[in-house]
Symmetry: C2
Subunit: 325 residues, 2 copies
């Protein structure tokens, strides 16, 4: 753990991408001094955050996320937006960055002045990765990026984490019907604000339309009556760059609807408070890991509970006692 | 808060229902001395727990949960089982017990020696209610009940809480198609191990079959390929007492399949460890509520974060500091 040099708040506010990169590196650092500096930087930036359209994007490997994000980002830049692309990949600490590790996967955004592409932090736990990504998102907003796209490859509960970070959650689906649809993980369709079937061009165009029809059937059954929003099912192609305007119109329509119903503000408040408590719990966990006495005892407690030798209640009591609570 | 007299472990082990009722009242008490006595009782009972088939049951109001549970329970008693019925209703602290408050809703189980029916604890938070219900479930198992049915009316996240308590999660659905299906809350179908369309008798029989067909379509799309279990969609009638044998066969088939794949043991371990950590967090929260200095400051912190005047990170830092972490 080495200390980082904090960027100047002015450079960050001016949208200097090098300063933004340094700021994100700072919030990703676990060095106590860096954490303190990161806090100062974040608190100073808070007043300039919250202005971006925050979109979460997921889809199974092979669905063409990077190509779609590159095309969508370029489309938005063409319309005058500044686009930041972040990622939540809890596996990256093991694999060394499964997604966005290779910026060339987003050829245009990697070189555009109006874009900022950042790989997933690799800080281990999903909670940690999500917390760092959330801080990175705020820094991007403070640096004047008005669109933040948060990609996830969908390891573990990462879709839920990204849905909790963003205003609109986009699920990318593959063309095809029946079995081919089912690669999507349990619960993910429930999170979707928009479903876009990618590769809806050329030979697979027809199968994309079939897939869309199947998703519409599923949504008919899954969306409660009187719901303020029914996820549209769109056809897009990142490769052929079709449907991008309609896709973004869907994002803007969702946001407008959420603002009408007050759900937009409510969702962001919920996210902020939930995030605060997640950080408190994260702090609790890290303290458990860091105190030698606890770190030594914890595996024994967990093993005893897992083997039903100890009741979870008794285990919780012992942990609380070790924490001096 | 008055102190309770703990039942004798022997009476509990012997399956004495009065002793079981007293034991559950003890674990539901918030009196510190009672909590301590409850812990002793639970730890003593642990070795006799885990043997029951644990089934969670949900469905929208009007689906006929009580009638179905009464009929299913009587059916199982007829087959030599001892059946405990518990409930998770986070609203009961406000309404004074929305479900199972009135035992006459389960006329036969209320009077059967082989049955034990207990209303939802009304301890406020969902986490608290779920924790008490889990302890009650263990006590029922220690008292020799080999089937535990946990009912929820589906307030807030209570279905998820009940799914986390049980081995098999049963969703009761109403006859009818289209709109009528959609009363089921977002995400609940995702939790289902078995879907049973109730009232599949008499005039609504045909509409029940239509509903079942719609659920099968939804499951085709929602269940990942190569999943070890695809939820069966069954037709039952609590009133006419039809389909009860098939329903229980489905529960046993699900359990057998989970045991084959090892998911059964994995799920119970996950539940126990998850429960332990939930209790640690609950302890943290209750300490926050109980310490005057914190109780006074917390609303201000939450308001500042909700209004984006304070970053969640800074809020978490202050809470951690107040907790001396």
């Amino acid at each position: 753990m080495t200390r980082r040099t904090p960027p100047s708040p002015e450079a960050l506010a001016a949208g200097d991408r090098a300063a933004l990169a340094r700021a994100i590196t700072l919030v990703e650092s676990r060095h106590p001094d860096d954490r303190a500096a990161a806090r100062v930087l974040l608190d100073g930036a808070m007043s300039r955050t919250g202005g971006a359209v925050r979109v979460g994007i997921t889809g199974v490997p092979g669905v063409g996320k990077s190509t779609l994000i590159d095309a969508l980002g370029a489309h938005l830049i063409g319309r005058g937006h500044r686009v930041a692309v972040l990622a939540v990949d809890p596996s990256s600490s093991r694999t060394g960055g499964a997604i966005l590790g290779d910026k060339t996967r987003m050829a245009r955004l990697a070189v555009a002045d109006e874009a900022f592409v950042r790989p997933s932090p690799s800080s281990g736990t999903l909670g940690g990765v999500a917390a760092r990504t959330r801080e990175a998102m705020l820094l991007c907003e403070a640096a004047g990026f008005d669109v933040v796209l948060v990609e996830t490859v969908g390891v573990g509960q990462s879709e839920t984490a990204v849905a909790d970070l963003t205003d609109t959650f986009l699920v990318l689906a593959l063309p095809g019907a029946g079995d081919e649809l089912q690669g999507i993980k349990k619960g993910v369709i429930e999170l979707a604000d928009i479903i876009a079937v990618n590769k809806a061009d050329g030979p697979s165009g027809e199968r994309a339309a079939m897939a869309a029809a199947d998703y519409r059937t599923a949504l008919q059954i899954l969306v409660p009556p009187g719901a303020s929003w029914t996820p549209p099912v769109l056809l897009v192609s990142g490769l052929a760059e079709t449907g991008l305007g309609e896709l973004w119109a869907g994002v803007e329509r969702h946001r407008a609807r959420m603002e009408e119903t007050g759900e937009f503000t409510a969702r962001r408040r919920r996210q902020d408070l939930g995030w605060m408590w997640a950080l408190v719990d994260e702090r609790l966990r890290s303290r458990l890991r860091s105190e030698p006495r606890l770190r030594e005892r914890l595996p024994q407690i967990e093993a005893a509970v897992a083997a039903s030798r100890l009741s979870p209640t008794a285990g919780a009591d012992e942990i609380a006692a070790l924490l001096g609570m």
